[in-house]
Amino acid sequence: MKFFYLLRNFIFIFFLFFLFQLNQKVYAAENIYIDKIIQRGYLNVGLPPYTTPPFYYLDPKDKKLKGYDIDIIEGFAKEIGVRVVFDRDSTSFNNLVKRSGAGDFDMAIGKLGTTFKRMSDAHPHEYMNFRHALLSNRKFVNSLGVAPDNPNYGNELLNSSMKIGFIDRSAYDTYANSLFSNAEKIGYKNWAECKNALLKGKVDAIYRDATEIKKIVYQKPNLSIEYVPILFDDIIDQKSIFLSTEANTYLSDILDYYLKRKEIKTDSEIMKDYSSFYEPIN
């Protein structure tokens, strides 16, 4: 009788163990990279060391990272069933992409422009689409001697010997070198320094995407008198999430599937959706 009692308990324990093992199999992913992320419990994401509202910024109220890029990546992490841990130790945009390619994190996000150079470092996945733009001193625009509505104006501008400012080691550093061949190109440490250089007359124009250029005049409308946004309707800055080769092999499909369900935002849509960031500030 005792033997049967022990056998019954043994079978019950064995059954419980079997069930536990079965349960373990359900929560493990067959995709070994995703499985690694799940085991780790978080998605390791590289983010630039800057603050760029409304894309990624620290909310002054709760000191938490917020913004469109943060929402995108947290939404993706939620689909996998993990949280996000941000790595903000990169020294520049280019360094961030390079580190992503080297596998320092699972992916890098932060309004990162796509260039051929960056594509040789990491694999891009498009999620935003912004026009290239300049904020130029109106006197410089006038000095070109061609009216802006003249079809030749674009070529005159690209071939001019203007002084153009941009963030050093950013995608716009690369774009400036390929598009503005005769310009005097000056890289600045960050966007604030670029703006300062323009306002002090050290450069004729500063170069970035439309959301950043338009933000300057929207926030300080009086600057519209002296400065004018020049928007290149046919030169598009494709903003991408960058993955290393290993991460791309395993995450490419799921990431593309996720991004496909989100619309690719244009600069106009971002400025409309996040209009509170494009209002005058005192």
């Binding site: 109106r138 006197k139 625009v141 006038n142 000095s143 802006p148 003249n150 079809p151 030749n152 104006y153 674009g154 070529n155 501008l157 690209l158 005049v217 929207y218 300080k220 409308p221 009086n222 600057l223 519209s224 008198i225 002296e226 004018v228 946004p229 020049i230 928007l231 290149f232 309707d233 046919d234 030169i235 005058p280």
Partner: protein, 440 residues
């Protein structure tokens, strides 16, 4: 229809006509028309938009006799000047006319410069800069398509400008309302008419005079509608124009309005000084007032033509001289545009903090005169872009300035026309005289 009904209708029309005529007087303009326009524009914005459309329709109606008037006035004027010179060596009309045109052009531009130096248009408060900046947002952006744009032919623009001046077919130019081509074509036609034998030219001149008289009469009748037109335009302007911009550009607006009043004062003095005792006896009031009101209420300097010519002919001035001097000063030397352009240039230079050195002041006068005269044949908002030439010379960005000026142009066009009208009256009063032998 019974005789009584017909009589009643005639009486009603006569009464309506006399009310409209009375409303054209300056005191009614200030006491009734202007406040009524303001009240409707402020409190009834829905109606004001419809009134604005009605106002533009009435302008179209008033402009209807303009082209035949310009065509005939210029041909007759040129013919008169050239034949007068030949027929009467002692007559200095042509010389007096040219001299007074030059003197008045520079006097008007110096007056505008002095007023703008005093009023300082373009020097803005921080709030004013924000208002202007907000207005410029998005509208002044430069959108470029670099890789898909067509390369323009550099000669194309020059060709099109020349083509807009050189007449092609005077009748088709008139039919297409190409005022600039009509003026240049008429100048040539007037010259041609003056060199053919008088027995051949006489019937043609007579026909042109008849067309001119008909146009003047129609214009004069249509001008009865000017009080209604003005109420519509003021109400429409109050509703459609961004009030923040008007406040931000208040200095420019005041400067032009003060210039208009100053020009009215000058013209009143000149009429007193250059009319004889006998002529003064014939005039019930100073004609400068009615010319000023016509210009102000229609926004068209050409609408002042019948008032000026009729008044001067009425006091016994030689009709050919009056027609010649009035049409030339209204069509070519448009002093309202000269005054406006000088103020607009100072506004632009102040806005972009260009130092106004003595040399720059001289350049402003010269460019104001040149751009003002180059706007010959242009009306309303079409005048504004002529300032771009001066702005380019001073290396000041033209698009934002033009945008701002265009924003307040529905108001500015009124004093501009009034200045052109009263200054043309001055030129005609000084250059024409009583005892000249009529030509043609």
């Amino acid at each position: 229809m019974s005789q009584l009904t017909k009589l009643k209708m005639t009486n009603s029309f006569t009464n309506f006509r006399s009310i409209l005529t009375t409303l054209r007087k300056p005191k009614y303009f200030l006491l009734i028309i202007f406040p009524l326009g303001l009240i409707i524009g402020t409190f009834l914005p829905g109606i004001s938009r419809s009134l604005n459309d009605l106002g533009f329709t009435l302008i179209q109606l008033i402009s209807y006799p303009a082209i035949p008037l310009v065509l005939t006035a210029v041909i007759i004027s040129v013919y008169s000047i050239l034949t007068l010179d030949k027929s009467n060596k002692n007559n200095f009309f042509a010389r007096k006319l040219i001299l007074s045109l030059i003197i008045f052009t520079f006097v008007a531009s110096i007056l505008a410069l002095a007023l703008s130096l005093y009023q300082k248009p373009g020097i803005l408060s921080p709030d004013g800069k924000v208002s202007i900046g907000k207005f410029m947002l998005d509208i002044t952006d430069i959108n470029l398509t670099v890789f898909s744009s067509d390369i323009a032919d550099p000669l194309a623009n020059n060709t099109s400008w020349l083509q807009s001046v050189i007449p092609s077919n005077i009748l088709s130019d008139a039919a297409n309302s190409n005022t600039l081509k009509v003026i240049s074509g008429s100048l040539l036609a007037g010259y041609g008419l003056s060199i053919i034998p008088q027995d051949v030219s006489k019937p043609l001149v007579s026909l042109l005079r008849s067309i001119n008289s008909l146009s003047v009469k129609i214009l004069d009748e249509l001008l009865l509608l000017s009080p209604i037109l003005l109420i519509c335009l003021i109400a429409g302007a109050i509703t459609s124009i961004n009030t923040e911009i008007i406040i931000a550009l208040l200095n420019v607006t005041i400067c032009i309005l003060v210039s208009a009043v100053a020009c009215l004062g000058i013209s009143r003095l000149i009429i007193k000084r250059y009319t004889s005792k006998e002529e003064k006896k014939l005039l019930e009031t100073n004609p400068a007032d009615s010319v000023f009101i016509v210009g102000l209420s229609t926004g068209s300097s050409m609408a002042c033509y019948p008032t000026i010519t009729n008044t001067l002919k009425f006091i016994g001035r030689a009709s050919s001289q009056v027609e010649a001097s009035t049409s030339l000063s209204l069509l070519i030397s448009r002093l309202g545009n000269v005054v406006y352009n000088v103020i607009a240039i100072v506004f632009a230079l102040n806005l972009y903090e260009v130092r106004l050195s003595p040399l720059v002041l001289i350049q402003i006068i010269i460019l104001g005169v040149v751009t003002g005269i180059s706007s010959a044949g242009l009306n309303g908002v079409a005048v504004v872009p002529t300032i771009a030439i001066a702005l380019m010379f001073f290396q000041v960005p033209a698009p934002p300035i033009l945008l701002l000026l265009l924003a307040i142009d529905p108001i500015m066009t009124l004093p501009r026309a009034a200045i052109s009208g009263v200054m043309a009256l001055c030129i005609s009063v000084i250059s024409s005289n009583e005892s000249v032998v009529e030509a043609g």
